[in-house]
């Protein structure tokens, strides 16, 4: 049982890290701001969710698990709002883009 759990966790965390990696490559390689935001927020948020799910069974106590979940919610909210702000600012500056 615990072996199965470890395997599932390893897969989840590994995929999460992979998504982060892909998002970061996208950030570096994509041509303009919109696509970069797309790469960063989409891929990283998915990776983050996998990391959180993968880390939850490691939590020592329910409080710790709740803190991990709180971090997840906060990072999701912050990244989506900042992505919106960057995109909105860009939209205001160059409406044709």
């Amino acid at each position: 049982m615990s072996l199965l759990l470890t395997i599932v966790q390893t897969i989840l965390i590994g995929t999460g890290v992979l998504f982060f990696l892909v998002g970061s490559i996208g950030l570096l390689r994509f041509p303009d701001t919109y696509t970069r935001i797309h790469a960063l927020t989409k891929a990283d948020n998915l990776g983050l969710g996998m990391l959180v799910v993968g880390l939850l069974p490691f939590a020592n106590s329910p409080q710790q698990a709740l803190k991990i979940l709180l971090c997840w919610v906060l990072i999701l909210a912050a990244s989506s709002v900042s992505a919106y702000l960057v995109a909105n600012k860009l939209q205001n500056e160059e409406p044709d883009a």
Partner: protein
């Protein structure tokens, strides 16, 4: 874990190199923040979570915000540089194009290489000397950790770091708080006065620069942006509660007044960036709040002398409550201090130098405030919205 430590160390070196070698100041600041975050991780690995908290909140967070703010003001000033007196322009050029100037001053490539070599050798020498000194140091004559461990039962507080900061070595902390207070007083007095006539022009130019800078940082309709406003409204209470928790946690685990104060300042900075201008509207209260922590600390420290005790020696049984009381007041003042350094930095359009303009904006914006979102001039819009909120 050793692989992680090596990666962390290399990452810190890379980030530090990025700070110094990036030609773009914005990139240098981002690298500085990255360095701060990595440094916080390094403190965690060295099992100093208190330092990690402080580094993440103050070193990476607030300092990064201050630097970005400065840069945006300088850039906005540079675009509007025609209005500024020559001295200011010179200053601007020094700050915004240091690297360009440095490149001009260098006579040829060989000269530069020689300088690099000299600096590199000097750094290497210092590194070796420090390492040697570290290896040759004698055994410590006094075992401080065990002394702290012995003293903890009488300290009135469980967490050793807080006990050291506010009981065993409270004198240092008292002076630290005094230094912070002096720093913020200097910061406040550097604001450009607008009542003297000859300084009127640069002052208004600076205010314009600051406002334009804000239009650059966030969308110009900051306070009116529904998503930003809703997010800020939900986030700030959470940050404040976390600050209170960190303060409370300081008595038994890592945390304490400085970290909690940094969080409170962060809440203020977020509010300010989202267009809420809280601090500028309660000037007198702000001044009172800035000195409150130091005043309470000094009062407690001195009032124990009435009972015939030495300075800063808490009475038996009262240490815990007194320390927590002092810490709570310190948190408030430290938060306000850090926030003031951000909100009231020179070039800000905030009170009192902008009071007249604020008033005129107020009357003007009652007419203009029903305009659609986003088609407002960057001028004083942030302030006008703050007044309406």
């Amino acid at each position: 874990m050793i692989a992680f430590d090596i990666l962390l160390g290399l990452g810190m070196l890379l980030a530090a190199a990025g700070v110094f070698w990036s030609a773009d100041l914005f990139r240098a600041i981002v690298m500085f923040v990255v360095f701060g975050v990595l440094l916080a991780l390094a403190w965690l690995r060295l099992q100093a979570p208190d330092l990690a908290l402080a580094e993440a909140a103050i070193g990476a967070g607030l300092t990064g915000v201050l630097l970005l703010d400065t840069l945006s003001v300088l850039r906005a000033k540079k675009t509007a540089a025609g209005k500024l007196p020559p001295v200011d322009q010179q200053l601007l050029n020094t700050f915004t194009s240091t690297r360009a100037c440095a490149a001009q001053n260098n006579h040829g490539k060989g000269h530069e290489n020689l300088r690099f070599l000299a600096v590199g050798l000097l750094s290497l020498g210092i590194l070796i000397a420090l390492q040697a000194a570290l290896f040759m140091r004698p055994e410590a004559a006094v075992n401080l950790p065990s002394m702290v461990a012995e003293g903890i039962p009488d300290a009135g507080i469980e967490h050793p770091i807080t006990a050291v900061l506010l009981n065993f070595r409270s004198y240092d902390t008292l002076l630290e708080v005094a230094v912070l207070l002096v720093a913020v007083i200097i910061g406040l007095s550097l604001r450009i006065p607008s009542n003297s006539n000859e300084q009127q022009a640069p002052s208004s130019a600076l205010i314009g620069a600051r406002q334009a800078a804000y239009a650059g940082v966030i969308s110009e309709d900051g306070g009116n942006d529904p998503i930003l406003r809703n997010f800020t409204q939900r986030l700030i209470p959470l940050v404040l509660v976390t600050g209170g928790y960190i303060l409370w946690a300081g008595s038994t685990m890592p945390g304490g007044a400085f970290q909690a104060g940094a969080l409170i300042a962060a809440a203020g900075v977020i509010a300010r960036l989202a267009g809420y201008n809280i601090a500028s509207r309660v000037d007198q209260l702000l001044r009172f709040g800035l000195v409150l922590g130091f005043l309470v600390f000094l009062t407690v420290a001195a009032s124990v002398m009435f009972g015939g005790r030495p300075f800063l020696n808490y009475p038996d049984g009262w240490a815990g409550s007194l320390i927590f009381f002092i810490e709570a007041m310190l948190t408030f003042s430290i938060g306000l201090t850090l926030l003031s350094l951000f909100v009231h930095s020179p070039g800000d359009g905030a009170e009192p130098n902008a009071k007249s303009s604020q008033r005129s904006v107020k009357s003007g914006s009652t007419v203009g405030s029903d305009n659609g979102v986003g088609n407002r001039p960057p001028g004083n819009s942030g302030k006008a919205e703050a007044d309406h909120d």
